[in-house]
């Protein structure tokens, strides 16, 4: 814990074997950003991979594709490549990062979030 992990943002993988495929899909499940799955059919699906069943059959992952109301369930054998296409929402948001910023930067960031939230009607 506490070790800074290298962000996977922007990385792409074509699977070598099933073990690597499982590990990478597990990493995609842990990832806090969107990923793009390339399917054997040629289709590319971009969205948030929120669930997976990789330890027993049927092997599948579940993804919320942006703009679609219900999640898609995708059989693992149809996935041929994986791209960590979206920004990692947990990256650079640590408490340490927050503390290490100069007071002025923190105040500016706080103001920015505040005005975004006001625009969204989440603050008075």
């Amino acid at each position: 814990m506490g070790e800074a992990k290298k962000s996977l943002t922007g990385e792409s993988f074509v699977f070598g074997d099933d073990v690597q495929k499982r590990e990478l899909l597990e990493a995609a499940f842990d990832y806090r950003g969107d990923v793009t799955l390339e399917l054997a059919s040629g289709e590319k699906l971009e969205g948030y991979l929120f669930n997976r069943q990789l330890d027993r059959t049927p092997y599948f992952v579940e993804m919320f594709v942006a703009g679609e109301a219900t999640p898609r369930c995708i059989p693992v054998d149809q996935i041929i490549a994986l791209h960590f296409s979206g920004k990692d929402a947990a990256d650079g948001k640590s408490y340490e990062a927050w503390k290490s910023k100069k007071l002025k930067e923190r105040q500016e960031e706080s103001k920015k979030i505040e005005s975004e939230m006001k625009r969204a009607g989440l603050l008075d």
Binding site: M1, F29, Y48, N51, F64, S94, Y95, I113, E114
Partner: protein
């Protein structure tokens, strides 16, 4: 004080489950109708999602169905910030109709603005997130002025006759004396009680450094609760407070506080995300429970002492035997 009707409801629920021989039953449904929040605290692992996920909401019907499905007598509505949900009043009203005791967990930023949506009821408690006095809380939530806004919200809610509690998470470096002063200050606001829990490093939380390790947790709570003041009321089982001080040893009851959110039923608990089940039945039947909790040896659970994992154990201990009941009475009187 927690109303007797609530204590009675929980006690009779636990006893009926025990009589039926049910091994795994829920006590508190952790309902997360959205992940969007109007704060961005460094310690929070609940809000780190892409925008299209933060924009998703559970409908009131989905919330009620989850409450019906699992049957827990208490529903804790968390998130995200529940007051941001446009239909939070309908969600709450539907749960009250079902006679669920609701803890609406809020940072209180929007409380004054939205309080007219609710009516005081023995079933509804505003559980206000405050992590300490002004300096500690504003630092914990990464924004100036939030403490004062929350206190204004508390005063308004108390004035209108709502049940109000404080929900406080203590992190590494917490000063026991300051925490004691904080308890004095919040009790003077006329709240019903305090819920307090050590912070825990959610697997996904960006801040992994400031969560308390087990020994430090015990030390901190011993210092805070030494010579507990009569004026402090806790909305927690007395045995959970004993557990935090290291006076009793418990293992986790992760199915005691199941979590339902926009992804489904979260496996295994509120803190860890090891996948999702489509139904509560599937959650109970397919989660490998033996792999979780302190005694399992799972490193993810090694330092966890949070109330969502261990309070259910304390409650089961209280109502599970005369010995447990006597222990609770003694702890409550100490």
């Amino acid at each position: 004080m927690v109303p007797l009707s609530q204590i009675w409801t929980v006690a009779s629920y636990v006893l009926s489950k025990k009589i039926k021989g049910e091994k795994r039953y829920p006590l508190v449904l952790m309902l997360e109708p959205l992940f969007r929040c109007n704060l961005a605290c460094a310690g929070c692992g609940k809000i780190q999602y892409p925008d299209h996920i933060l924009n998703r909401r559970l409908t009131p019907e989905q919330c009620w169905a989850a409450a019906d499905e699992c049957g827990a007598p208490i529903v804790s509505i968390a998130g995200g910030e529940p007051l941001v949900h446009k239909e939070i009043d309908r969600i709450v009203a539907g749960l009250i109709e079902r006679k669920k005791y609701i803890y609406l967990c809020t940072n209180a930023i929007l409380l004054r603005k939205r309080i007219d949506l609710f009516k005081p009821s023995k079933y509804l408690t505003f559980s206000i997130h405050l992590d300490g006095l002004k300096e500690e809380h504003d630092e914990s939530v990464c924004r100036e002025g939030v403490y004062e806004t929350a206190v204004e919200g508390i005063k308004e809610a108390v004035k209108r006759g709502f049940r109000v509690t404080i929900n406080s998470t203590l992190f590494d470096g917490a000063n026991p004396q300051r925490v004691r002063t904080f308890f004095d200050e919040v009790m003077s606001l006329g709240i019903e009680g305090i819920m307090v829990s050590p912070g825990y490093s959610y697997q996904k939380a960006p801040d992994q450094e400031h969560f308390l390790q087990r020994n430090k947790t015990r030390e901190l709570f011993q210092q805070i609760l030494r010579e507990k003041k009569k004026s402090w009321k806790f909305n927690l089982s007395p045995l959970f407070l004993e557990f935090l001080q290291g006076n009793v040893e418990y293992d986790c009851t992760p199915w005691g506080n199941p979590t339902y959110n926009v992804f489904g039923w979260q496996k295994p608990c509120y803190l860890l995300q090891d996948g999702y089940a489509k139904s509560f039945k599937e959650l109970i039947e397919t989660t490998p429970w033996e792999k979780y909790g302190f005694r399992s040896g799972n490193p993810k659970c090694a330092n966890c002492m949070v109330h969502s994992g261990y309070e259910a154990t304390a409650v089961n201990d209280t109502f599970g035997s005369w010995k447990g009941f006597v222990k609770t009475v003694k702890a409550a009187l100490s």
